[in-house]
């Protein structure tokens, strides 16, 4: 058994027979041109090669339905047709009286020299793109070159392709012919080939030195993408071990992909909306990949802390941030909701950096969990709330924005925010002369204090939706700090007090046609999903990484059975 290692770029395990794909050796002749006519002909030959190569890229692009593949190949086409590439190569042909191939080598050397000076690894990895694009031109110029399509076997099932340095176009073809994996001799983890291998779920180990020389045609090879490891001619124990891993990975992959695409319906046909809790723009892609129906909670204080010192003071930056997220959630037929929770500081959540010079009163609070936090802070210092509300109002033109207010415990707080929101929209209309109405967005309250839960009738007329923050609601209801080890085991979401409170909030909101979700950790915990479903909850907002897990759980449940179980929990125990 021979073991080799390379760069791990994606999970995925596979076993297959080796096929060594030898790329055409490029011969670069140096010829001297004797006349101006010959120069013109050479430039024309280059132009023809360029057009032919672009056409070839288009063909590859049409064959794949993967958006990442489309994007990379379109970019290569753009590079191929770059006016400067043609101009500088033609200039070398004229200056040095040489053939197109020779001129291209010089242009490529020059381009790579410039790029190699870059300090950023990601940007430097673009040298792979330049090499691949110029190689396409060489292949067209070289009349003896064979087409990869003809050289690559038409069926690559159960075959791992070993290749020196495949271009994205070649990778698309390899994947399309059904290869089970790929090994390369060169390439960086930031190359488009690597990015695309991940996007196409092709188990790949990158940059294995001398792979073509070390691996024999048709020998059995285990490829462990997760560890970047290869085992050629594995012994039986190794084969058995990896056969299990491969089967598990395959079924996991298929299940996850199928699951993301299905709607979330319980076994007895109850449809559930699954939203995602996110902290940054990059999470949106994760959420959508997992099939989320929108964003149920964007925690802005984390956005402020992580991304941009002073973002809290900067309306324009906030606007751009929310607007780009709202746009990312737009689908052809509708806009998925982006639920933005306004600044939620105090208690365990620190204050982001701000330019303001204020002596914060909550520094020495004896009991921060019951202190100046959430909406209480925002209404005490309305300048920041207003910046945020204005940014959100402006962003509402780009998608469907829902504003969520944390730590609401009384009607007056909601009325005050409504007033501020109205004020902001009037100001914006005057300043920008555009029509920004508060009717363009939805306003909601976090239900996380027992006060809000018990007075829910009072609050519902002032909101468009509610989101239950189960972490705080359970903690306040039971008077248990779940981070305190002495008592953490008494943090019991199945306590009748909690079940009663949650059930009544959910059913009251539903009776009044106000949408209600749970965005606390309870909704992300498969153990408590039946409980919430049984209380009548039809909207779960969970961490993107847990979404498929929760979906799987929900799809396996019977809503009626869960409802009966909750009813039983609420029955008073008669024995003493």
């Amino acid at each position: 058994m021979l073991s080799l290692t390379g760069t791990a770029i994606a999970d995925g395990v596979t076993i297959g027979k080796v096929h060594r794909l030898i790329q055409d050796e490029l011969s670069v002749p140096h010829m001297t041109l004797t006349s101006e006519t010959a120069q013109k002909q050479e430039i024309q030959r280059l132009e023809n090669a360029r057009q032919a190569a672009a056409q070839q890229l288009d063909q590859h692009r049409q064959r794949s339905d993967n958006p990442a593949a489309h994007e990379v190949l379109a970019m290569h086409r753009q590079m191929l047709l770059d006016p400067d590439l043609l101009a500088s190569t033609s200039a070398v042909i004229q200056r040095e009286n040489c053939n197109a191939e020779w001129a291209l080598v010089q242009v490529q050397t020059h381009l790579l020299e410039q790029l190699n000076a870059a300090e950023d690894d990601y940007l430097r990895a673009r040298s792979d793109d330049i090499e691949h694009v110029i190689r396409l031109l060489h292949e067209q110029l070289q009349s003896s070159a064979t087409n990869l399509e003809d050289r690559l076997p038409t069926r690559l099932q159960d075959i791992i392709v070993v290749v020196a340095d495949p271009s994205p176009a070649e990778l698309v073809l390899i994947k399309q012919r059904g290869a089970s994996g790929m090994v390369t001799e060169r390439g960086s983890a930031y190359s488009h080939t690597a990015i695309l291998a991940r996007g196409l779920n092709l188990p790949t180990v990158l940059a294995v030195p001398e792979a073509l020389a070390m691996l024999q045609e048709d020998e059995l090879l285990i490829l462990d993408g997760h560890h970047g490891a290869l085992f050629a001619e594995p012994d039986e124990a190794m084969q058995r071990h990896y056969q299990q891993k491969t089967a598990a990975y395959q079924s996991h992959l298929e299940n996850q992909q199928a699951l993301a695409k299905t709607t979330c319906i319980t076994r007895d046909g109850v449809k559930i909306r699954l939203l995602a809790n996110i902290e940054q723009a990059a999470d949106i892609e994760l959420a959508l990949e997992a099939g989320a129906d929108g964003i149920g909670l964007l925690r802005t204080e984390l956005l402020f802390l992580q991304h941009h010192a002073g973002l809290m003071d900067d309306e324009q930056q906030q606007y751009e941030c929310y607007a780009s997220m709202a746009r990312a959630l737009r689908r052809q037929d509708k806009a998925l909701p982006l639920t933005v929770r306004t600044l939620d500081v105090g208690s365990d959540k620190p204050l982001p950096q701000t330019e303001a010079d204020i002596e914060w009163p909550f520094k020495d609070e004896p009991n921060p969990a019951l202190g100046l936090r959430g909406i209480r802070f925002s209404l005490r210092y309305p300048q920041w709330l207003k910046i945020q509300l204005r940014a959100l109002l402006r962003a509402s033109r780009h998608g469907r924005i829902r504003i969520l207010l944390p730590m609401i415990s009384m009607r007056e707080e909601l009325a005050n925010v409504r007033r501020l929101l109205h004020e902001c929209s009037m100001e914006l209309q005057l300043e920008t002369e555009t029509d920004l109405s508060i009717n363009d967005l939805e306003l909601g309250a976090m239900i996380e204090t027992p006060a809000a839960a018990l007075a829910i009738h009072d609050l519902l007329p002032l909101v468009d939706f509610i989101a239950i923050g189960s972490n705080d609601l359970v903690q306040y209801t039971l008077a248990i700090d779940r981070k305190n080890d002495n008592i953490a085991r008494w943090y019991q979401p199945r306590h009748p007090a909690v079940v009663n409170l949650l059930s009544s909030v959910i059913s009251t909101a539903q009776q009044q046609n106000i949408s209600v979700s749970v965005c606390g950790e309870l909704a992300s915990d498969p153990d408590y999903v039946p409980l919430l479903l049984g209380m009548g909850l039809r909207e779960f907002s969970v961490h993107p990484g847990r979404l498929l897990n929760i979906k799987q759980k929900l799809c396996s449940l019977n809503a009626v059975t869960c409802t009966d179980e909750v009813k039983a929990l609420l029955q008073p125990t008669v024995q003493r």
Binding site: E71, M75, L85, L115, E320
Partner: protein, 89 residues
């Protein structure tokens, strides 16, 4: 002729996708477009030029535009860069 300095504020800098968008935007206008950074000056309509510039996040590009529609081109390019090429932050 217009001269405008703009700081790249998207996380990845002038990477492939961003460079492609910049070329497409500049290509929509007839005016000449030159972009300088780090002692190099390249054609803003050339993706190879932009890629080899390898300008990272935080780099201040110096943009020169010359032609009848230079004002419009300048506005469009400024907006594209300030919008982080449409990328999330």
């Amino acid at each position: 002729m217009i001269h405008q300095d703009i700081e790249l504020c998207n996380r990845l800098g002038l990477h492939a996708r961003a460079a492609g968008k910049l070329v497409n935007t500049a290509g929509r206008y007839a005016c000449e477009c030159w972009i300088s950074w780090n002692n190099r000056r390249i054609n803003g309509k050339s993706i190879m030029g932009l890629l080899t510039l390898a300008a990272p996040c935080g780099a201040t590009l110096s943009i020169e535009l010359d032609g009848a529609d230079e004002q419009e081109a300048c506005a469009a390019i400024t907006e594209l860069i300030n919008n982080r090429f449409g990328e999330p932050e």
